[in-house]
Symmetry: C2
Subunit: 416 residues, 2 copies
């Protein structure tokens, strides 16, 4: 490989202008975006991306999951392409940068190489993965999951939104179902730039997160059964308070995660109480415990400890309990060569950097199973994401795309 | 007063048949009843009660809140009536006995006195209070509250159901808005028979609860504000987990109530978490703490302790908190003479009995403010109420109505 010179930099103003132009499509109600997957707005956003790619001289590929592949040719017809990208779809109350920065950052690399007249041995393909968010059609990272062999396409097509519309039908409806077999493409490497969606880089004052691992995830849905009874006429010793049992387990979740510091985390974001009436002691509580760690054994330890401690808690209280594993994926260790390329790029260009573990799932996590992969992260204000107030600075975006480009171009090999 | 002879007993089979016939109106989906206040079903139930009362030779009064007063004359034109009753309206998924037993128990007294040709000095008035449940039009005990001067009639008329229909309009629509001024009636005494809605009598193996007090109630709605953030990408020390803050306060609520044993109780039946998504740390938790005690000072102590402890908990966690008192009433001490009449009746008739504190609110709690009042309770299976599976035995109903009759008749004074 040839190391790119450190003054090869992307055009930050152009990247920013493209981000702002894309954000005009599917505006949110509070300054962010609602451009959910396979909506009419998604189709408009895709068309704009296609237009930009074609203006940059690329040819667009489209697979049967609707994933877009904008290819800039390399000089070696036998060299596998280097892929770079993320997703253009957003949460219903999403921000302007989650995913979009990674796709338009990929496009900006192609534009910059064009500006400079730089040729690479390997083709470079800017990619827009369909339905990363998973809000409309669960699960998240659906198209990259099919690409990576995690899901079948048939299963993906049958995913339904709350109105009962199917993923496959909606993909056809908006006109973005391609003919290409999903996963048939072979990759030399894949790189994804993404906002951190957490507070660490900003707090640590670093420009760049070098993502070494993706956290593994375990979702356990717990149902506690007690007995609905009147809050007034049931003496304290006779209560079977499922809500109190839940409260004690939530404290245990916190302690279990803290006992696996510093990388493990745990919380319950989903909590439903039944019948949820002010004067009825809860007879049922259903909640989901989310444990994450970059270490698979730690996740298994936390799951086991949760079952042990929660069973003891409810046993003492005379409550019933069931556990159901409702989601999860194993930790990801990104490719050492690709990760090193990212770290070296940040170092070479003078950006401050630190290693990060991605707490969220990303398309890169699934692609890592089928190609050497790495991620670049840039800070976001207050760690806020999945929120219309999500914000980054032009400088952060520029630094992230600079590092992305250097890593991609080094991997794609400049032809002198 | 003349003490009634102990073999003056009601007709348990007739009472039970009437309970079963009333339960055919507004059947539930699971064997109970859905005869909510001011629905068409309520009107049908009222008409049946009126027919039965008229067949028993009573004259029916109807006040502007729709409360029904079936009067059996006394021998002394100047003697104030003894009132007896409860409510015919049910929860949306209610049982066949909550309220209904007290109304039809009152009717059964009149029928029995007719059977026996017994005259009383004081008239006896069997009463059906409108909207005790408060599920359709909050708050509960609405008509008795207006009667007792707790609410104005204008305010009561303006209460709206979830469809925006007003109490006053619905009362007129079903044809049960009377002309009589609410609260104009003066009472010699009021007695209410009710199922316990708690487990104590059944567990203690007692036929009769002699209700000495009604618990006071305090509802504090607590809002905890943290910060919505990603469950994966937010390190544990940087979290502002409103759900965890709530969990710790729920434990404190339990401890505060237990520290005021044996009569104080505390729980949260209402809990809402925002945004309630599996992968978002809760940024907000809203829940209502229900404290009850027969001692006003204990309620105030528990409220104060809650604010102190909860503030300390969230302070340590960097969370925000607000407290809003959203409901409450002071403890009730029932009239000593009336309570003694109930206890003596149980004793005289050979029913096992114990003193009880009513944990739930009842019409009797408001009427106690304007007339000497007492309550009789009978067991219910498993303490279950506000549930279609609510159940009692014919023997329990008979014992309760027997004791009710003896107390009412002693107070109304048999004319030899």
């Amino acid at each position: 490989m040839t190391t790119p010179v450190s003054n090869l930099r992307i055009n930050g103003d152009r990247l920013w202008d493209s981000l702002m132009e894309m954000a005009e499509i599917g505006p949110g109600i509070a300054g962010g975006n609602n451009r959910q997957t396979l909506t009419d707005e998604d189709a408009v956003g895709r068309a704009l991306f296609q237009k930009w790619c074609e203006e940059a001289g690329c040819t667009m590929g489209l697979d049967q999951m609707g994933t877009m592949f904008a290819r800039r040719e390399g000089t070696d017809p036998d060299a596998l392409p280097v892929y770079v990208g993320s997703h253009l779809d957003t949460q219903p109350t999403g921000g302007k940068y989650d995913g979009v920065l990674g796709v338009l950052g990929g496009l900006e690399i192609l534009r910059t190489l064009n500006d400079m007249g730089i040729k690479t041995k390997h083709p470079i393909v800017a990619t827009n993965w369909t339905n990363e968010e998973g809000t409309r059609f669960a699960p998240a990272m659906l198209a990259s999951g099919v690409f990576g062999g995690v899901h079948t396409q048939e299963w993906a097509y049958a995913r339904e939104d709350v109105e009962g519309k199917k993923f496959g039908d909606e993909l056809a409806r908006i006109g973005w179902r391609g003919d290409e077999e999903v996963g048939a493409r072979k990759m030399h490497a894949f790189f994804e730039l993404h906002i951190e969606q957490g507070p660490i880089l900003e707090i640590e004052g670093k420009d760049i997160g070098v993502v070494t691992h993706g956290q593994g995830l375990s979702w356990t849905e717990i149902t506690i059964t007690g007995k609905d009874s009147h809050t007034g006429s049931t003496p304290m010793p006779m209560r079977k308070n499922a809500g109190l049992g839940m409260a004690r387990i939530l404290e245990a979740v916190e302690q279990i995660a803290l006992s696996h510091a510093p990388h493990a985390v745990g919380a319950a974001g989903h909590i439903d109480i039944y019948p949820n009436s002010r004067n009825v002691i809860p007879g049922k509580a259903v909640f989901t415990v989310d444990f994450r760690s970059p270490d698979l054994q730690v996740i298994k330890d936390m799951e086991n400890k949760l079952r042990e401690v929660a069973s003891a808690i409810v046993g003492q209280m005379g409550l019933g309990i069931t556990f159901e594993k409702v989601g999860g994926f194993d930790p990801v260790e990104f490719d050492e060569t690709c990760v090193t390329a990212v770290r070296n790029a940040a170092e070479r260009m003078g950006y401050s950097h630190m290693n990060l573990i991605s707490g969220a799932g990303h398309d890169a996590c699934w692609i890592n199973g089928v190609a050497p992969t790495a991620m670049v992260m840039c800070p976001c204000v207050g760690g806020l994401s999945h929120n219309e107030a999500e914000d980054i600075s032009k400088e952060w975006a520029t630094a992230g795309a600079d590092v992305l480009m250097q890593a991609v171009v080094e991997t794609a090999e400049i032809v002198e």
